[in-house]
Amino acid sequence: MTGYEAIIGLEIHAQLKTASKAFCACPTTFGASPNVNVCPICLGHPGTLPVLNRNLVAYAVTLGLATNCQIRRQSTFSRKNYFYADLPKGYQITQYEDPICYGGSVEIETDDGVKRIGITRIHMEEDSGKSIHDLDIDTLVDLNRAGVPLLEIVSEPDIRTAREAYLYLQQLRQTLLYLDICDGNMEEGSLRCDANVSVRKVGETRFGTKTEVKNLNSFRNVEKAIEYEIVRQIEVIESGGKVQQQTMQWDAAKQQTKVMRSKEQAHDYRYFPEPDLGPVVVDDLWKEQLRAALPELGLARKRRFMAAYGLPSYDAAILVDDVAVADYYEEACANLGTADAEAYKAVSNWIMTELLRIMGQQKCGIREAGCTPAQLASLVMAVKNDVISNKTAKDIFPAMLETGKTADVIIEEQGLRQVSDTAAIKLLVDKVLADNPDNLAKYKSGKTNLFGFFVGQVLKASGGSANPGIVSSMMKEALDASDPQ
C-alpha cells in the first residue's frame, strides 16, 4: 500500500427538480406508476421534436456559478447514439464538445485542512428510462424517467483518497440542496456517482491506467468501492501485472468490484451536434440575474456560523449540512432577543441533541419536529435568565412539543418559575436547619457530605422551584454561620 498514490476523478449525475422534463412538458414526479409521465415526444414517436426547458439552463448556470465555473456564452447540444430498450430515440441528447460550464472548483475540508477539487465541466443532458430485468421472462421498460433533466458534473483527477471522494461528493450534494435544484437522494437515483480510479508510485508524474467504477448508489459505497479498487490495482501491479482499462461495477453484496466491460467492448457513441436544437445562449444579463439570486452556500455559512455565533466547527458543520436546519438555527437565535454566545451555543445543543433525534425518529424535517424557533428561543432564554433550571427545561420540552406553547407560558401554567427571591429561600434554609438538628450536628462535626442533603431538603420544600444555585450558596453561608448546639 505504501509507496503508491491514487488518482481519482468523479462523474456525478444530478437529476434536476424542474417541474417538467428537459425537452417536453411531462412532469418529473418520482414514484408515479410506470409509463404515466410520458408523451409522444419523450416516447420518441416519429415526427416529434425536442424543445429546451429554459429552467434546465438556469439550473445548470446556477450550479456552475456556485462552483466557480466559467459559463459558456454559447453552448450546443449533441446526440450520443446507442441502442437500448429504455432509450426511446436511440440517442441521448447531451452536451459534448462545448459544455455550458467549465473550469470550476469545490472546496472540501479534510483532516489536513482545506483542499480544492477542480471541476472540469458541467453539462446538461436527458435521462434514459428504466429497464426492469428482475422478472423471469421479460424485460419491462418504464419511460417515466426518459427525458428528465440531468447535470453531469465531471471533476478533475484531483482526488487522492476514498475519503476525499466521499467529502467531495458530500460537498457537491450539499451545494445542490442549497441551490434547491436536486433532491440529492442516492438511493432513489436522483444523485449518481461513477469514479475513475488509477494508482501510481509516489513521485511518478504520469497517470496509471484507470478503471471506471459504476453503480455507486450510496455515500458508503462510493468510499468502499474506491478503497477496494485502489487496493485491487496496487495488488495487480505488485504481483507484476498491469491494470486493464475497464469499466467495473461495484457489487455491494459481495463488497467488491467486478468487470462490466473491457476497453474493446467500449461503445462508439458517434456524437454529433443535435440538429433539432439551436445553440444555448446565456447572455450576461441572464447570468448576472442568476448570480444575484445565488444563496449563501454551505461552507460559507459554516464559516459565518463560527464567526457570528461563536460555534465550534463541529456544531457549525452539522447545523449547515441541512439548509432547513441552518435556517431554523438562525431564526431561533434571532428570537433570543439578545446576542449571547452562551445562548447561541445552547440553541445549537438543543437542535443537535433533541431536534435532530426527533427528525431521525420521525423521518421529518426540522419544521415538522414540533418545536418552532420561537418556542426553542423561549426555552433557552428561560434557562439563561434563571427562570428555570436546565433540568426543568428538559422536563417541559415534551410539553412544548405537545402543546405548541412557549416555555414561558408552560412555566407560568405549571408554576415552575424558579424562586430566586433570597428572603423566601432564607426562610426555607432556616426551617430545614431547624428541622434537622441531628444532621446539622453531624455536619458541624465534619460530615460535610451532608451539604447535598440540606440543599435537597430546601429544593424539596420549595416544590422544586427554588433556584439551586442560590439555595446552594445561601445554605453554605447559613451552615458556616450556625453554631453547633
Partner: protein, 469 residues
C-alpha cells in the same frame, strides 16, 4: 390538374360545391389507382370535412382554404390515419397528433383526403424504394414520377387533389414536381414547422408544397408558415404574405443570375432549350440576366450525402421494435432490435444508415462529418455572395426529364446524381421553387428552378410569376 382558386370562385357562385370537388378527387384517385400515388385514402373523413366546408360557405364563414383538397406525404403525421413512411417498419402505427402543418391546414378549412406514396423514409429520387410499390408517372406509366415525394407530385399533376404536402431534404419536392409538371416549393429552412414530419435529415428537411398554380402555392404557404413553439428550429418571424407579394409589382429592376454553359452541359438538350427560352422570357419582362459562378459544385452531392446519411443514421435509430411498429419476436432485446430493423427497412434505407454510421464513427468523424460541415459553410457563403448581387438564381431543376422505372436502380451513385441541382439549396437552407416550363419531345414535363436568399420565399414566388404563360 385542378386549381383551388378557380374551384373556390365556382363554389362561391354556386357552380359547384366542396362536396362535389372532393367526390371528384376521390373518383380520380380510384380511376388512377394504377399510378399507386396513395397509401391511404380517407374518403369518409374527406367527405365529412367537405360537407362542413359547404356549410361554412353557405353561412358566409368560409376560411382562407375552405374546401381545399389536400394530399399529405406519408411521412407527415395526420392523426387518425396510418403513418408508414412507405416502410414495413411502421407497420400498424397510427400517430397520436396532427403535424403542425396539418393542424394549420385543417384550421384554415382544408379537406385532408389521404396519404401519398413516397420513397421509403424519403430516401430515393424515383419513388421506387417504397415498400408498397413504385409510383408511376401520369404522363408515361413506364417512367418514374421522381422522388421522394412522388405520390404527392402525381396526386397534384393528375387532378386527385388541389395541392399536396411533401418534404424536401435534397430535392424531394422539386425533382418530382419537375418530372410531373407541377409547381414545387421548398421554403427556407425554418419557415415551415417540421413538427410532425418524420425526420430523415433534420438540418436539411423542409416541408413544402406541390400545386398546379403559383396562386395556390402562395395561398397554402401563407397558412402553413409562421413560428411554431413545438419546433426549436422554427423561424420566430410572422406567417407568410405570399398572396400579397405575388400580386404586387416588382419594386426594382430584377437581376436574375444564370449558370454558365459549362455548368449545364450535362443536361438533356430539351432542358437546355427550355432554360434558354425561360431566360429570354425574363429578359423580355425587363430583367437583367447575369451569369454567375457559385463554385464548389463538385462538393454539393458529397457534402449532402455525408450530412444527410449521418443525421439519418441517428434519426432512424428509434425504429427499434420496442415501442411501436414492426417487431420481430426474439427473447433477447438486442437480437430483437437487429431482427426488426433487418425485416423492416429496405435496401436503400439500410445503405444510408450504414453510410451515416460510418461517417460518424470515431476515427472517421473528422475526415467526413466535420469536413462536410466546413463544406456546408463554404456553400452557404458562396450563396450569400451571389445573392448580394442577384435577386434569384435560375437553373434547371433536373438534368433530365423523368427516366424509366428500373433504369437507375443498379447504380445508386447515378441515382444520387439526379439530385445535382437540388441538394445545394437544402445545404444552404435557402428557398427554391421548381416551375413547370414546357415539355420534351416525348411530352414529359420540364421543370426549371429559382433559388433565392434566405427568407425571400415570397420574392421567389413573385419572380416565378414572370414565367407564367
Amino acid at each position: 390538374m385542378i386549381t383551388y382558386a378557380t374551384d373556390r370562385s365556382d363554389i362561391n357562385n354556386g357552380a359547384t360545391s366542396c362536396a362535389e370537388r372532393t367526390t371528384a378527387c376521390l373518383q380520380r384517385i380510384d380511376e388512377r389507382a394504377s399510378l399507386n400515388a396513395f397509401l391511404h385514402v380517407d374518403a369518409d373523413g374527406a367527405t365529412a370535412a367537405a360537407a362542413e366546408s359547404d356549410e361554412r360557405f353557405a353561412a358566409g364563414l368560409a376560411r382562407p382554404l375552405e374546401g381545399l383538397v389536400v394530399a399529405v406525404k406519408d411521412n407527415i403525421n395526420v392523426a387518425g390515419m396510418p403513418l408508414t413512411c412507405a416502410s414495413r417498419m411502421l407497420d400498424g402505427f397510427r400517430p397520436l397528433f396532427d403535424a403542425t402543418v396539418v393542424e394549420r391546414l385543417r384550421d384554415a378549412g382544408a379537406v385532408i383526403i389521404g396519404k401519398t406514396n413516397m420513397d421509403e423514409f424519403a430516401m430515393g429520387s424515383s419513388n421506387e424504394t417504397s415498400a408498397f410499390g413504385a409510383v408511376r408517372n401520369p404522363v408515361d406509366e413506364s417512367r418514374v414520377p421522381g422522388g421522394s415525394s412522388g405520390g404527392s407530385a402525381v396526386a397534384v399533376a393528375d387532378g386527385m387533389c388541389h395541392v399536396a404536402l411533401g418534404s424536401d431534404t435534397g430535392g424531394s419536392i422539386r425533382q418530382p414536381a419537375a418530372f410531373c409538371g407541377t409547381y414545387g416549393l421548398k421554403p427556407t429552412y425554418g419557415r415551415v414547422s417540421r413538427y410532425g414530419l418524420v425526420a430523415f435529415a433534420s438540418s436539411l428537411d423542409q416541408i413544402g408544397i406541390f400545386a398546379s398554380s403559383l396562386h395556390d402555392t402562395a395561398a397554402v404557404f401563407d397558412v402553413i408558415t409562421g413560428h411554431d413553439p413545438m419546433d426549436a428550429t422554427s423561424d420566430p418571424g410572422a406567417a407568410g404574405r405570399a398572396l400579397d407579394v405575388i400580386a404586387s409589382p416588382h419594386a426594382s429592376p430584377l437581376r436574375i443570375g444564370v449558370l454558365p454553359r459549362t455548368a449545364i452541359q450535362g443536361c438533356e438538350p430539351a432542358i437546355i432549350t427550355a432554360y434558354d427560352e425561360a431566360i429570354e422570357r425574363f429578359r423580355t419582362k425587363g430583367a437583367a440576366i447575369i451569369e454567375v459562378a457559385l463554385g464548389h459544385e463538385e462538393i454539393w452531392v458529397p457534402t449532402y450525402f455525408i450530412l444527410a446519411t449521418a443525421e439519418a443514421s441517428s434519426n432512424l435509430a428509434r425504429f427499434d421494435g420496442v415501442r411501436y411498429g414492426l417487431r420481430a419476436e426474439h427473447t433477447d432485446i438486442s437480437d430483437m432490435t437487429t431482427a426488426s430493423k433487418t425485416a423492416g427497412f429496405g435496401a436503400e434505407v439500410k445503405r444510408r444508415i450504414m453510410l451515416g454510421t460510418y461517417v460518424l464513427s470515431s476515427g472517421y468523424y473528422d475526415a467526413y462529418y466535420r469536413k462536410a460541415q466546413q463544406a456546408r459553410r463554404l456553400i452557404s457563403d458562396a450563396y450569400n455572395a451571389v445573392f448580394a448581387d442577384v435577386d434569384a438564381l435560375f437553373m434547371p431543376t433536373t438534368p433530365t426529364t423523368a427516366f424509366s422505372l428500373g433504369e437507375r436502380n443498379a447504380d445508386p451513385v447515378t441515382m444520387w446524381l439526379s439530385d445535382y441541382f437540388t441538394v445545394s439549396a437544402n445545404i444552404a437552407g435557402i428557398p427554391a421553387l421548381s416551375v413547370p416550363f414546357g415539355k420534351d419531345a416525348s411530352g414529359l414535363p420540364i421543370g426549371l428552378q429559382l433559388q433565392g436568399a434566405l427568407f425571400h420565399d415570397e420574392r421567389l414566388m413573385q419572380i416565378a410569376s414572370l414565367l407564367e404563360s
